[in-house]
C-alpha cells in the first residue's frame, strides 16, 4: 500500500520511495528512506495535506506525493 492510504494514528514502515527529480530528492533528504517507520498524525482540515511523524519530528506533505511512497503496515 502507499502512505496516503494509511489511516490516522497508524504506523507503517517505508519500503520504497517513488517520484522523481526535486520531489523525490526532497522526500529522501527529509529522511523518508526505506525501513524508516512513519506515523500518520492527522489530515489538514480540508483533507489534504497530511501530517506524519518520522525520525522524531513532524512533517507535512500532500496526498499526491504521499501516494508515491510505498509502505508496509507495522504489525501491532
Amino acid at each position: 500500500m502507499t502512505l496516503d492510504e494509511l489511516s490516522i494514528g497508524q504506523s507503517a514502515v517505508v519500503t520504497a520511495v517513488g517520484g522523481e527529480g526535486a520531489l523525490r530528492r526532497r522526500l529522501l533528504d527529509m529522511g523518508i528512506t526505506p525501513k524508516t517507520s512513519v506515523l500518520m498524525r492527522k489530515k489538514a482540515p480540508m483533507g489534504d495535506p497530511v501530517e506524519i511523524c518520522l525520525r522524531g519530528y513532524e512533517l507535512t506533505l500532500r496526498l499526491e506525493d504521499a501516494r508515491k511512497i510505498e509502505i508496509r503496515r507495522a504489525k501491532a
Binding site: R25, L28, D29, P45, G56, Y57, D65
Partner: protein, 671 residues
C-alpha cells in the same frame, strides 16, 4: 588575522538566533548574487575582523533549490575558513544528514549542538564526546536562545579555522556505495583538483547523479561512460537507485551513530506540548476560524491600536516639522515656488508615506512572531489545498493576506518563501489584495454614487480583487510559471516562544530596509508629481490646476481610458498622483474640484462620472499598478528592475481589461 565563517544548518534549528548571538546587531543584509536568497553577514562579537555569513536554512546540498545551490556555491567558491554547522539536538537524526554532506567538503568544521536544554529537561542525553569522536569534528553543546555555550563555540571555531583542522573522518559508508565512491574518486582525481572541488564531495555527488557537478568537473565522454557503469553496478547490487542509495547510506550511518550516542526516552516536552497545541490550532473545524481570528486581531492591533496610534503621532510630528520648516522658509524669504516645492512637494509626499511606516513596522513585528513561533508553518498546512489550485502552496497565504493591509510588508514577507518561482508568483498576486490605502477612495466614491449601499460596494470591490487575483494566478500558472513548484514537503517545527531580541532585530532590519530603499524613490516621485501639478510647460507656477503639465498629460492620456468610461483628464491626473500613495487620488480630486473636504467632493463627483463610469474607475483603481513604495519593495524582492516593470505592465493591463469588461457589460445592460 581575519577569518570567515559560514553558518549552515537546517531550517528551524535556531540558526538565526545563533547568528544574532554571534554578531549582535552589527549585521549586513543583502542577497546572494543573481538570486533573491537573503545573505546576512556580521562581525563576530568581541572578535573584530572575524566575519560570519549566515547561509539559508537547508536540509541537503542537492542541486534543486536556489537555497541549496547558493549554499553549495558559497562553500565551494568563496571557501570560508571554517563551517559552523548548527544542529538541533531535539531533531538530531535529520539534522545530521546535512552535517555528513558538509563534512564531505573537507573544510574545517565545528558542530554547534543547539537546544541541549530541551533534551536534558525531558530526560534525554547526548554523549557529546562520543559524538565528537565518531564524527571526527568538535562538538559544542549550546543553548542559542539563552546565549549558553556561545563563547566556547566561537573559541573552538577560531581554533579549528586557524589550525585548518579538517574533519578526521570522511567515510560513512560500507559495501557497494563505498566501492562506487572510491572507484569514481580515482577517475576524477585530477579533474577535481583542477576545478578546485573537494574530491570526496565531487565523487559522492557523481554517484548521486548530480548534473551541475558533472559540468563543473569537465569530464570527457569516456570517463562519463565508466562512471555510469560503476553506478549501474552499484544500483544492481543494492537493488535501488543512486539517489536513494546515498540517502539510505547516510541515514543508516546516522541511525547507528544516534543509537550509540543519544538517549532519547520520548518526545521532548516541547514536542509533546506542540502536539497538544496542534489539537486545537490545526483542528478540523477550529483551525480556520482561529486563523482568521488571529489575522483579524493582528490587523486590528496594527491599524487601530498600536500602528494606528503611532502613525497618528508620526503624522503630528511630521506636520509640526513641516510648519517649522515652512516658517523658517518664510522668514528666510525663500521664493514661493521653492517653498511650495519643499513643503507641498517633498514634505507632503514623503510625509504621507512615512506616516505609514509604523504600520509597516508593526505588521512586521507580528509577521516575525508568526514565523518564529512555528504558527506560520501550520497556516501553510491548513491553507495549502486552497492555494494549490493556482499553483502555489500554503506558504504563500500569509503574505497574500498581509496584502490587504499594505503591499509593502506583504511583498517583503515573501523573502521567507522557498524557490524563486513561488516567490515571484506570490509577489505578482499580492497587489490584487486591495490594500488599506485604497479605502478612502472607495469611501468617497460610494458616498457619492451608492450612499445606501456603500458597505456592500466596498465588499464587492474586495471580492472582485480576490477573484481577479485567482484568475491571474490561473493564467500565470499555465503560462509564465508552468515550471516545477518547490515540493510542499515541509517540517512542522515545535512551537517556541519567539525571542524578543530576534523579533526586534528583524523588525528594525525591515524598517531600515524600507526607509533606505523606498525613501529615494518616494522622494523623487513626490517632487516629480509636484512639478507636474504646479508648473506649466513654460515652468511657470500655475494658479489653475487645469493649466498644469499634469492636466496636459491627463488630456493626452485620457483617450486611453475613454473605452473605460472615464476619459476625463482629472481622473487620469488623480490616478497618476495616486502612484505616490493610493489615498492621494482623493486629495487630487479635492484639489481639482476645488472642494474643501471629502463631503463636498462626494457632492461634486457626479459631475464627472455616471454611476457606471464611477464603478469602472473604482475597478481600475482597485487593480492598477501598486504605489511607488510597493514597487520599490517589488524591485528589491524580485532582484530586478525589469521584472518589477513587468509587474507594473501586467497589473495595469489587467486593470484596464477588467474595467473595460465591467463598463462594456454595464452599457450592454443599459446601466
Amino acid at each position: 588575522m581575519s577569518l570567515i565563517f559560514a553558518l549552515a544548518g537546517n531550517q528551524n534549528c535556531g540558526k538565526t538566533t545563533l547568528f544574532n548571538q554571534l554578531t549582535g546587531s552589527h549585521q549586513h543584509v543583502g542577497n546572494f548574487p543573481g538570486v533573491t536568497v537573503e545573505r546576512k553577514e556580521g562581525q563576530i562579537k568581541d572578535h573584530p575582523g572575524n566575519t560570519v555569513v549566515d547561509l539559508p536554512g537547508i536540509y541537503s546540498l542537492s542541486p534543486y533549490t536556489a537555497e541549496e545551490v547558493v549554499t553549495r556555491d558559497f562553500l565551494l567558491r568563496d571557501k570560508p575558513d571554517a563551517i559552523i554547522n548548527i544542529v538541533a539536538a531535539t531533531n538530531i537524526e535529520r539534522n545530521l544528514y546535512l552535517t555528513l554532506q558538509l563534512m564531505e567538503l573537507r573544510m574545517p568544521m565545528v558542530l554547534a549542538l543547539n537546544m541541549m536544554d530541551e533534551v536534558t529537561k525531558s530526560g534525554g542525553s547526548i554523549d557529546v564526546l562520543a559524538l565528537s569522536r565518531e564524527l571526527g569534528i568538535d562538538v559544542v553543546p549550546i543553548v542559542a536562545s539563552r546565549g549558553e555555550g556561545i563563547h566556547e563555540l566561537v573559541d573552538r571555531a577560531i581554533a579549528v579555522a586557524q589550525e585548518k583542522r579538517l574533519p578526521a573522518r570522511q567515510d560513512f559508508c560500507t559495501g557497494e556505495v563505498h566501492k562506487a565512491i572510491h572507484a569514481i574518486s580515482h577517475i576524477i582525481e585530477d579533474h577535481a583538483r583542477e576545478a578546485g572541488v573537494p574530491l570526496r564531495f565531487a565523487a559522492t555527488k557523481l554517484v548521486e547523479g548530480d548534473e551541475p557537478m558533472l559540468q563543473t568537473l569537465n569530464i570527457h565522454e569516456g570517463d562519463v561512460e565508466i562512471i555510469r557503469h560503476i553506478v549501474c553496478d552499484m544500483e544492481q547490487a543494492l537493488g535501488t537507485d543512486r539517489e536513494a542509495a546515498l540517502a539510505d547510506m547516510r541515514y543508516e550511518y546516522i541511525t547507528a551513530l544516534v543509537a550509540k550516542t543519544v538517549v532519547k526516552p520520548q518526545a521532548t516536552a516541547e514536542q509533546q506540548r506542540s502536539l497538544k497545541i496542534d489539537q486545537v490550532l490545526t483542528h478540523k473545524y477550529f483551525s480556520i476560524p482561529i486563523f482568521l481570528g488571529v489575522m483579524l486581531l493582528i490587523f486590528w492591533l496594527t491599524f487601530s491600536v498600536i500602528g494606528g496610534t503611532l502613525s497618528d503621532w508620526m503624522g503630528v510630528g511630521i506636520e509640526r516639522l513641516t510648519t517649522l520648516v515652512e516658517n523658517a522658509l518664510v522668514a528666510a524669504r525663500v521664493s514661493p515656488v521653492l517653498r511650495s516645492l519643499i513643503i507641498d512637494g517633498a514634505f507632503a509626499g514623503v510625509g504621507s508615506v512615512l506616516s505609514f511606516l509604523p504600520i509597516i513596522v508593526v505588521l512586521f513585528f507580528f509577521l516575525s512572531m508568526l514565523e518564529d513561533s512555528g504558527y506560520m508553518a501550520r497556516v501553510a498546512f491548513v491553507m495549502d489545498s486552497l492555494l494549490r489550485k493556482i499553483g502555489l502552496s500554503g506558504r504563500s497565504f500569509v503574505p497574500m493576506l498581509i496584502g490587504f493591509g499594505c503591499s509593502v510588508p506583504a511583498v517583503m514577507a515573501t523573502r521567507t518563501l522557498p524557490g524563486e518561482r513561488d516567490k515571484r508568483m506570490t509577489i505578482l498576486l499580492i497587489p490584487f489584495m486591495s490594500c488599506s490605502a485604497k479605502l478612502p477612495i472607495y469611501a468617497v466614491f460610494s458616498a457619492a454614487f451608492f450612499p445606501d449601499y456603500s458597505g456592500l460596494v466596498m465588499m464587492a470591490l474586495y471580492i472582485f480583487g480576490i477573484i481577479t487575483g485567482i484568475l491571474a494566478g490561473l493564467l500565470l500558472k499555465n503560462t509564465v510559471f508552468r515550471g516545477n513548484p518547490v515540493p510542499f514537503v515541509m517540517e512542522l517545527p515545535a512551537y517556541r516562544l519567539p525571542g524578543l531580541q530576534s523579533t526586534l532585530l528583524h523588525m528594525w532590519q525591515k524598517a531600515k530596509d524600507f526607509i533606505v530603499r523606498a525613501f529615494t524613490i518616494i522622494f523623487v516621485a513626490s517632487i516629480a508629481v509636484w512639478l507636474l501639478q504646479s508648473l506649466d510647460f513654460g515652468f511657470n507656477m500655475v494658479s489653475d490646476g487645469s493649466e498644469s503639465m499634469l492636466a496636459a498629460m491627463g488630456r493626452w492620456i485620457a483617450p486611453v481610458f475613454a473605452p473605460l468610461g472615464f476619459g476625463n483628464w482629472q481622473s487620469v491626473a488623480a490616478l497618476i498622483t495616486g502612484l505616490c500613495a493610493k489615498e492621494t487620488v482623493v486629495s487630487t480630486f479635492i484639489q481639482l474640484t476645488g472642494a474643501t473636504g471629502t463631503a463636498e467632493l462626494a457632492a461634486a463627483l457626479p459631475g464627472f462620472f455616471t454611476p457606471l463610469q464611477a464603478t469602472s474607475f473604482l475597478v481600475f483603481t482597485l487593480l492598477y499598478m501598486p504605489c511607488v513604495a510597493a514597487m520599490a519593495a517589488v524591485r528589491r524582492e524580485m532582484g530586478s528592475g525589469l521584472k518589477a516593470l513587468g509587474l507594473m505592465v501586467f497589473q495595469t493591463g489587467i486593470a484596464w481589461i477588467m474595467a473595460f469588461l465591467v463598463y462594456t457589460a454595464g452599457l450592454a445592460l443599459g446601466l
